[in-house]
């Protein structure tokens, strides 16, 4: 195992060569710790790290840092998400220090959904720095022990740095270069957007392998099981940058109404089986949106249990 940058469980699992399996937990729309607990409890022992989303879809929720810290207390490893929409560089660096001091060791650096989609479309959008610059900033803080202004940090935060990649955004031809840029900026691992169009993803990952990108960075393929035909249609038509082939919708429509969710999980498990064998894929990031309680079942059916303990 090469030298550890952060010592996070996720880093150890990946560097030991295991097929990683990460989950996700959206903090509650309030200070309801019990609700948060309901969401993270089923993930215990099922995943290597839990992404804690940062006001996802620009809707106000409990802060991702606070929720991540609560996960740490509960014995789960968070992957603390941070978006560029809501904070300037001062707040970001300050939060990174705070997060590290609370035991958070993984970070996912994101641009963030535009606030126009959210529950406070009147708000100012910050975007002082972008996701590429955020990745680079976290790396600088970790590796050089310096803030952006070159001042020394008294105990630098050692984060395992994550970034997102959407292989299905346009222009498709450029996506691989954007991934390469994020790796060059300092991403240690990548979690992709939800994958439904497998042929397109195979093309993408082949390019990544050919360019040597998957040697430099761990790539986790994004999987979100469809809960209903309505969800599939919504994701196809309403979520920007999402590519849901008609075959997926047809397959869900082809089963009895009571069986749709099960079929969604079956599709996800088939994908995970393929990712396990796919060159360049180091793991799966399962985004079971508001379906955390089904994660144990999905993990079981996907054959990713037990999770390695290192």
């Amino acid at each position: 195992m090469s030298e550890l940058k952060s010592g996070s469980n996720l880093e150890k699992v990946l560097k030991a060569g295991h097929f990683a399996f990460t989950g996700e937990c959206g903090p509650p729309r309030g200070a309801n710790i019990d609700h948060l607990k309901e969401k993270y409890e089923p993930l215990k022992g099922m995943v290597d790290a839990v992404n804690v989303t940062d006001n996802q879809t620009a809707v106000v929720r409990m802060s991702s840092m606070a929720a991540s810290a609560l996960l740490v207390q509960a014995g789960l490893e968070p992957n603390y998400q941070m978006v560029c929409r809501d904070r300037n560089r001062l707040a970001m660096m300050s939060d990174i220090l705070g997060a590290y001091s609370l035991g958070i060791r993984n970070m996912l650096c994101l641009s963030g959904d535009h606030q126009k989609f959210g529950d406070h479309p009147q708000s100012k959008n910050v975007y002082d720095i972008d996701s590429m610059q955020l990745i680079s900033m976290v790396k600088k803080m970790r590796d050089e022990g310096k803030f952006l202004n070159e001042d020394e940090i008294d105990v630098p935060p050692k984060m395992f740095i994550g970034a997102a990649s959407n292989p299905f955004g346009d222009p498709f031809e450029f996506r691989i270069y954007r991934l390469a840029n994020k790796i060059a900026a300092g991403a240690d691992f990548i979690q992709t957007q939800c994958i439904y169009n497998m042929p397109k993803f195979r093309e993408f990952i082949k390019k990544a392998v050919d360019m040597g990108l998957t040697e430099k960075c761990f790539l986790l393929a994004g999987v979100t099981p469809m809960k209903s035909v309505g969800m599939a249609k919504y994701m196809k038509s309403r979520v920007p940058g999402m590519d849901v082939p008609d075959e997926i919708i047809k397959r869900l429509q082809g089963v009895d109404k009571k069986e749709v969710a099960d079929e969604g999980i079956r599709i996800a498990c088939e994908q995970i089986e393929e990712f396990k064998e796919m060159k360049g894929v180091a793991g799966v990031h399962l985004m079971a949106i508001e379906w955390e309680h089904r994660v144990p079942e999905i993990a079981e059916r996907a054959g990713v249990l037990p999770r390695p303990v290192i």
């Binding site: 963030g112 989609f117 972008d130 955004g169 346009d170 450029f174 270069y177």
Partner: protein, 222 residues
């Protein structure tokens, strides 16, 4: 140029609801070019206000005039014999106009008739689009003459984000993803390597973030 939209008539009517003698001042600068605040529009606004008041049985006296530019004290000074005679003076210039007027004539109440929106130009007759954010440090040469600071909804310096779809921005179908244009132009011209370069965090001190700005030309100011 500076692009503005006329405020809704109701909003202007409410602003001057208690005024009996009103002056509407147009501007021959940008707002004339974008058909919102020139002499013609000043006359239309004055007529609309007059008709509205007459209908409500509260007639008033209203005059209109136009200045060469409302962002220049030299032209503002031309109003010195006029402004004291009105209860309310409505400026149809961009946000600069009513401020220059207020500064020159502190006793007079001024009201804005337009919402100042952006620096841009007409892309077709009747449609204007933003092109510049006035950030104070132009970087468009990095992006083949296309500005992501002004034209990307997230001002990304390393785009496009995951929400770019079929050339459109994630925020709306009628908003162009400027990063899609930048990338396609670079690819067509075989200069994709330009987009492999890392752009450091932008210094926003020259933008509004650094506080209200001034531009001093020593050779002219002295």
């Amino acid at each position: 140029m500076i692009v503005a939209d006329r405020k809704p008539l109701v909003e202007i009517q409410e602003m001057v609801a208690n005024s009996r003698k009103i002056l509407v001042i147009g501007c021959k600068g940008c707002v004339t070019v974008c058909n919102v605040g020139g002499l013609k529009e000043a006359e239309i606004l004055a007529s609309s206000l007059r008709i509205g008041r007459n209908k409500n049985g509260k007639p008033m006296e209203i005059d209109e005039t136009v200045l060469e530019r409302q962002c220049d004290p030299e032209y503002i000074a031309q109003l010195k014999d006029k402004v004291g005679n009105y209860d309310a003076v409505i400026s149809m210039a961009c946000g600069v106009g009513p401020q220059f007027l207020s500064e020159a004539y502190p006793e007079q109440k001024f009201f804005p008739a337009v919402n100042t929106k952006f620096f841009g130009g007409a892309v077709q007759h009747g449609i204007w689009e933003e092109r510049c954010a006035g950030c104070g440090t132009c970087v468009i040469h990095h992006y083949d003459g296309l500005c992501p600071i002004a034209r990307c909804s997230k001002s990304l310096q390393h785009g496009p984000c995951g929400g770019s779809s079929k050339g459109k921005c994630e925020i709306a179908n009628d908003v162009v993803c400027i990063w899609d244009l930048i990338v396609r132009k670079k690819m067509e011209q075989g200069r994709l390597d330009d987009l492999r370069l890392f752009q450091p965090a932008k210094d926003w001190r020259t933008a509004r973030d650094g506080g209200p700005r001034r531009s001093i030309r020593e050779e002219l100011a002295s």
